[in-house]
Amino acid sequence: MSFLAVTRATLAKDLRLEWRSKDAINAMLFFSLLVVVIFSFAFDPTAEESRRIAGGLIWVAFLFAAVVALNQTWARELRNHVLDAYRVSPAPADPLFLAKAVGNFIFVIVLEALMAPLFIIFYKLRPLGPAWELLPIAVLGTWALVVNGTFFAALSIRTKNREIMLPLLLFPISLPALLGMVNATTAVLTGEESAKFWIALLLAYDVVFTIACLLLFETILEAE
């Protein structure tokens, strides 16, 4: 069986399951909405202050929301021990990981697309730098979150407290990426410096961790 065919089939299956249950997307939306509303009540920033803090607020909200989706990804495979059906099949491990990561990427990107207008309205945001750079920042930043998140969610599925374990593993290793996302977003919003260095950092982070996760995933999948 081809790598791409298994990846495609697994991704289609995951999207179908999420479309029917809406477990991940509803929980993420609700959580992000709460963050936007609560922070907007907690602070009453001027437009200038908003530009300085919004990068951090946005990405922290998405990071926490992504954890919800990441936990769901593998929880689905544990119900009825379906993951064992994959493990006894001759399909290689990597397509499963890639499909899960791409699925999570789609869920989080959809969330970001839905929440971005709310952030703009609540925090009166208007980028002073090149707005188009927000697109690569969103894509690379989201991939950085989901690629490690998918991997560490898989690592923690057999632990008793996997909901707690995932953030404990994911957040420290995501710090360089988070720094890149926040600084790049702030740079675009304030227009005071170029975001290029941070975008390059995100790209390098994504490449390194995608390769590392793909190389190590089979060991995780085969672990008892």
């Binding site: 179908r16 009825n80 064992d84 059906a85 994959y86």
Partner: protein
Amino acid sequence: MSGVSPIIVADAVIKQFGRFAALRGVTADFSPGRLYVILGDNGAGKTTLLRTIAGLSQPTRGTISVLGAKEVKTVRSQIGYMAHPSLLYDEMSGMENLRYFAGLYGIEDDAVAEKRCREVISLVKLDPGLARPVGQYSQGMRQRMSLARALLNDPKLLLLDEPFSNVDSHSAEEMAGLLAQMRDQGKTLLVVTHQPAILESVADEFVWMDAGKIVDRTSKLRGAQ
């Protein structure tokens, strides 16, 4: 023993979970084209033995060779495995589940996959057109769909863990007949069950386990268990 090479050879297999030994030096071989029933009390090591043969669990010590391979993963395409849980997605229909798993076994062509899925669903006496999600199936229907999934790849070796649990007696007899038919086609079956009487008339050998060891192998079902 006949001159036929065994399909499974276990040599002093020990499987430990922490300090608990689920298998304590299992040495056995299983010949091709036979239906074996594995019996024993809860905790005797039946499921662990099946999972080890399926490659889902690695022996702590000892070796196990399946279909001539030391690495089970190289012969996975020839193994069918049915576990106690259904190994199916509750939110998808039986056909959707099977179409997905067919892809994992390299059955990618839509028409071929559809045909094969319909075949195995019909084989277990379910309706391939059933659109209901598996989560709404009765337990018996779920068991049969789970068996259909294990048959998808037309395996040489079938490992079945409690295939008759929660299945009504009529359906269980039908399933037993199907298993006998598979054995007659040359497949090897290892069936873990607490209801050996269902397979009494079709089984070739009963393998008795206790405390992680194979303690007896008989051609007839003993009265007292």
